[in-house]
Subunit: 333 residues, 2 copies
Amino acid sequence: MQSRAAVTILDIAREAKVSRTTVSAALGSTGRVSGATREHVRAVATQLGYAPNQAARNLRRSRTGAIGLHLPEKVTGLAYYMDFTFGVVDRASEDDVAVVLTSSSAHSSALTAKITDGIVAVDLIDGDPIIGDLESRNIPLVTGEHGRQAVGRNGGTVWSDHRSSMLELLDHLYLRGSRRPAFLGPGRSSDWGRSLHRGYLEWCTRHGVQPNAADLAFNATAADVREKSLKLLRVDPRPDAIVCAPDGSAIGVLTAAAECGLTPGEDLLVASCVDSSVMQMASPQITSIELSPREMGQRCADMLIRLIQEPGTGPWDEEHPTMLNVRASTRPI
Amino acid sequence: MQSRAAVTILDIAREAKVSRTTVSAALGSTGRVSGATREHVRAVATQLGYAPNQAARNLRRSRTGAIGLHLPEKVTGLAYYMDFTFGVVDRASEDDVAVVLTSSSAHSSALTAKITDGIVAVDLIDGDPIIGDLESRNIPLVTGEHGRQAVGRNGGTVWSDHRSSMLELLDHLYLRGSRRPAFLGPGRSSDWGRSLHRGYLEWCTRHGVQPNAADLAFNATAADVREKSLKLLRVDPRPDAIVCAPDGSAIGVLTAAAECGLTPGEDLLVASCVDSSVMQMASPQITSIELSPREMGQRCADMLIRLIQEPGTGPWDEEHPTMLNVRASTRPI
DNA sequence: TGGCGGTGCGGGAACGATTCCGCAATAGTT
DNA sequence: AACTATTGCGGAATCGTTCCCGCACCGCCA
């Protein structure tokens, strides 16, 4: 309405001929107000175009009205985290809470911890310094995927069973004829990486095959992907399938396969542990595990917000399902 | 330090044996304090581990301490925006301002406009409702790339000369033997898309070739990419190069080319208007225009923060350079 | 009818930082 | 030496909201 002066609770009070207290009670859910006054006040409020001053509200409630989102370092360009981020924003904006991103700098993390009511951390890398900071300040923490140490009563975890997903994927490859699958993993410094790796080793043991695995750092370059892929492909006996985990690395694997004279989808099955639109654009389209990151982000934010509203009720724990999207790269028939 | 009670300016005042006023002046840059007291107060502050209460500060200053970041709808998964976002966070955290993301919902946009001191909007789509809201409230707005209507005295723009980049890219293709380049564009509802399209048409006119272009929406699926690519490739005379704009679509073009029996990098040159790590993983590696999104985000945030500090000094205008990364997909020699 | 519990609402004090204003002490001017 | 300008600092109000108290009023039961 008015471009300059914002309308405050006092304006409503005057207009509705009640006190500030009553307005506050009528708009909120606390305090005792009659149904009639509540309705009246609310009508006046919407008519005047009232929007609460968040700074004042936060000051009074001794809250910040924001949650932090902590992503792994060097994550730039990974579609998974982008989607996850938007999921967090989806849920947070429902409760009018802002989402603050932390950059990788220590300064930023420290700042974030100070100006937020809680933090969502996804794919927490072992030994991330943010943890100690939060523990000592007793700030609510929700992790997407398990962290190395358990969260406390002010925390929670939303996680997927990547070990089982991996087993399911390898079973699928087996049905499609693969007997010696190789694994290009994301390292073992995150729970995700460890779970996948565990699943892979478990499957190999169960089927009595020699594991053929290599690790790629989160911030691997295209050259790294090529090098590690070739390394896996040159093992004797040569693998008949490659499962790759880092987001987008499947494309690099296709390239490496071509370099070795292999035809992906025919004499080499290829699958990715992270689905994304690029996987459908590749040739052949690549079988992938759908992690539904956006929903994951929503659930993490949801848990955190509940945790902020009722502190100390944790630790909470929720499992988030995954799904296998089968495509041409593993459908050689 | 103390996990419960935060240390306030009053604690410092007591400890340093001065008044709140002096503490505030000593920590800030306003007011008159002697060098000695300033140093003393600052020492006490850091010793006590003081962190200003943002809510209180914002309330008093009638600011929110946050800037909004408005991304195009359905942007999920595009590496460009992820990098851009982190650039904004980089710069914003230098000044302790939080970055609030808007989801695509109208509610979220409205909220963001209310709780932020200004907004960075990148690749503004024509007719985005956010604009009117900002105009009427006189909120600072910085656009990454030009919007349809000019920004006012409370706004600014950071932009790249995509028309020239396109001309340079096409000239490069020409040198590599291409005479009939086709263009897979991002539509003409953004300034980026319009500029690229203009550059393409201009080059075609200049070289007397018939344009062969198609558009892909921002949220195009893999199937859309395939369909449009095939459409371009089936034009007679067949194109000898494809320039594609939407992030990641180059991969789909490679696939479509293979379907037509063409070998990318040999009988079909391929180039992308947006570089990303996937472009280096593809086979062949794809020549791309480097837009340096992270730096772009930093510059946008920088401009916005300056604009918030000194309102009404706009409109400002900065050009951000681009660079051509030549790779195997256009190096057939 | 007097006392008592419950309901509806208003007064006022916070929350923590900033800033206008004023007062004392010192420096500078004639 | 008297008078003004400047410097250094403190008091108090203020931003908009929430929440603890307390007051008036109504109905109920003894």
